[in-house]
Symmetry: C2
Subunit: 338 residues, 2 copies
């Protein structure tokens, strides 16, 4: 079977149109309220002394002394996914939370949940999906809160632990770093959204846990300068968020992006939310070791671009170039607009 | 002004009817699904090795080594409160979470939130209420997730830190212990529910933080054998949850329960959710020191009963006695029915 990657006709790719589609993609535009929220809490942040990183990263890191930080994150699942498939909502909630900790080089410790629904059968399905996630990722759900009423909603928070000086943060990419795109390619279009790439439900726990140790290894050896979990904004949108908080720019060579062996268009692939996917930056000398570790964990990875000082995110294929975001004009989260 | 407590005619109190009202109170009956949830996650709990306590306590405690545990809890706010008053929902979410950590003798470290609403103005109000809570309690919000759509929902998770051997747990009360009821009496009926006793919005941060250090002191000196934050089930319902997980019973002398100097009926007071309130158990020899520490922090406290082996929760006033819960028959959470 011919690889999907071979089918992309980069010579005729309308890079400008692609940039526009990424910019206006709902997965990207939904990130805009972050700045307003951060501003509200900054006004009362005189007690934030123990917090190493907070808004804008996958997880907050709270310094507990002794060189350790507790990583702390929360994710909510879109109401429409819960209504469509409560089992998948439960499973996805675990996945999204684990990814937040893993992307920072941390070890996930435990989760708590808040679930509401007026339909009894939703609870059973949601918790069954979460229990499957617990089994696959080896991270327990240790408590929570249940509302037997209202429209369906599901929120999960997670904690993890990491060494303070080994954290993979979002705000630490520097000009001259290379950009690495890493994702588990062994998957298929998800059952509930054309923009989700499902690669975990059919894998056994040992395979998954091995995959999730790769970022921890990269963290321990301090091979990455920055990194972020690829979520709803897709690979380019996620890189955009990373460079926005790092106050840098990036140029991505579209022809270098690894493609899965499934029937999705190139444009769709760029907007997809992989089950396991990360954007990393590294000094050029460490890129090949990063890639080696990722691949040995079962994650496909390649250098796809580089970090630059000028604060735009540009994509190109050969001589066709377009700017997706200009952070001097407008941010994704707006968190670093000032 | 005459104290409300003087007005209770205990001689004519229908204790049996009161027991029935507590038993059928919505704040109590809403706790029933806990057992089913715990059962689902227990089936995949082979990786729960680091977790000291989980379902059934105010917060889970995860052993991170070196004698420390991370406390981890989540609370959701009832949808109807968010619709009625998003500011109070935000403020209450912080309060409820901080109480979960404080009740266990821990120091709160940080919170994350997941908020959804299709109304922009709700976000501003919710976050403004949360920011007020952050200021009052000195615990930062370090991250979260926002859904700009759907019906209003608000979930907050919190982490705290404590010494493993100083934890105030729910499942460790023993026959012969006394029961201490402790609550901040300087308050009024809450603005949004006849069952909430609001005592915090008008106090300054220094007063509040001093109050919340009292349980930490009791923990450090290991003066309590068990304890739990008084939440929606009210004082008797919360004691019921504590003795259920401790697999013991209790007898409460209604005439000993401290009353606030406000115009609420005795029955209402027993069903109220105080802003700051705890049920503690202690060996009789340590009760007076517990009470001294609580009072010096501004929390009214008194011995109101004792723990017994027979697994019923009985209330009495003079010779009038009634059984509120018989845990051999049915639990509140059902978590320890087996």
């Amino acid at each position: 079977m011919e690889k999907q990657g071979h089918k992309v006709d980069f010579g005729h790719l309308d890079v400008e149109a692609l940039a526009g589609k990424i910019r206006s993609f709902e997965g990207v535009s939904r990130k805009r309220p972050i700045a307003d929220i951060a501003a509200i809490f900054e006004s009362v942040s005189d007690m934030y002394g123990d917090c190493v990183v907070d808004f804008g990263d996958d997880a907050a890191a709270i310094d507990i002394g002794g060189g350790d930080v507790i990583l702390f994150a929360a994710d909510g699942i879109w109401g429409r996914l819960i209504e469509k498939s409560p089992w998948w909502a439960g499973f996805t909630s675990v996945l999204a939370n684990v990814n937040d900790i893993v992307a920072m080089g941390g070890k996930p410790l435990a989760m708590v949940d808040v679930v509401s629904s007026s339909r009894c059968e939703d609870f059973a399905e949601i918790f069954s999906g979460m229990a499957e996630g617990v089994k696959k990722f080896g991270v327990p759900v240790v408590g929570g809160h249940t509302h037997p009423e209202g429209t369906a909603s599901l929120s999960v928070a997670i904690i993890g632990i990491a060494k303070k000086d080994e954290l993979i943060r979002s705000d630490t990419a520097s000009p001259g770093d290379v950009v690495i795109f890493a994702a588990d390619m062994d998957g298929r279009t998800g059952p509930n959204s054309p923009y989700s790439f499902e690669s975990l439900s059919f894998k056994d726990p040992a395979t998954i846990r091995k995959m999730y140790e790769a970022p921890q290894q990269i963290a321990k050896q301090r091979l990455a300068t920055a990194g972020k979990d690829i979520s709803n904004p897709g690979v380019i949108g996620t890189l955009g968020m990373l460079i926005e908080t790092s106050r840098v720019g990036a140029a991505v060579d579209l022809t270098k992006i690894p493609l899965p062996d499934v029937d999705v268009s190139f444009e769709r692939w760029l907007l997809m939310h992989p089950g396991t996917g990360f954007v990393l930056t590294a000094q050029p000398k460490n890129a090949s070791e990063c890639i080696r570790i990722l691949k040995s964990g079962g994650i496909e990875a390649a250098v796809v671009g580089e970090i630059k000082k000028e604060r735009t995110l540009d994509i190109f294929a050969g001589k066709n170039t377009a700017t997706v975001f200009d952070f001097e004009e407008e941010g994704i989260t707006g968190i670093c607009k000032k």
